[in-house]
Symmetry: C2
Subunit: 113 residues, 2 copies
């Protein structure tokens, strides 16, 4: 859980997760959304991956990153639970909505969400 919270402490990384919510994206595509260098982004991906929040799938010369929502979910629920704050996912149709969302938007370029 500590790794997850450490990963979430950086705004760039939180935004990466938000972008990946829509659909899996390559390192390059993700990087295009930010004003920092690719090596810096690569380091962010590494932090997210070590925390278990994203996973990588190599395809040819690109690497596709995808969000592992369940890990985020587990960490946040565990934490809020220790605060006696019992949250629960509203419903399973998050998943459906997420899938439905994952079309459009080839280049949001700036602020997302």
């Amino acid at each position: 859980m500590n790794l997850v919270f450490k990963a979430l402490s950086d705004p760039t990384r939180r935004r990466v997760l938000q972008l990946l919510r829509q659909r899996p994206m390559s390192a390059g595509e993700l990087s295009a959304h930010f004003a920092v260098s690719k090596p810096t982004m690569s380091a962010h991906f590494s932090v997210l991956q070590t925390a278990g929040l994203i996973e990588a799938e190599k395809n040819g010369r690109t690497i596709l990153y995808r969000l592992k929502m369940s890990v985020l979910e587990d960490a946040l629920l565990a934490f809020t639970h220790t605060l006696g704050w019992n949250l629960e996912p509203k419903s399973r149709d998050n998943v459906t909505r997420m899938a439905a969302n994952s079309r459009h938007k080839l280049h949001p370029a700036k602020e997302e969400v």
Copy 2:
């Protein structure tokens, strides 16, 4: 929101929040739960306070810290919302406990995003 996530990135500070969930406690009482020096704890309290997660009330020579649950709630819900993950409070007794805990300002200090 960034200050909140930064504050949550340290396990000592998360634990402080958990302790304060039960009841407000003085700096000394909180510090007694940890293996670090009091000045170090004082710095942690400062980070939490700057993030708006706790508030201080000076009483004689002690300082009573209390959790501001609503600020934590706002930040976490805002974040999960950007992930399309709609959480909602489930149990009623948070509310009761929070009410019991304090006069809990309806309008917490604003914080940058």
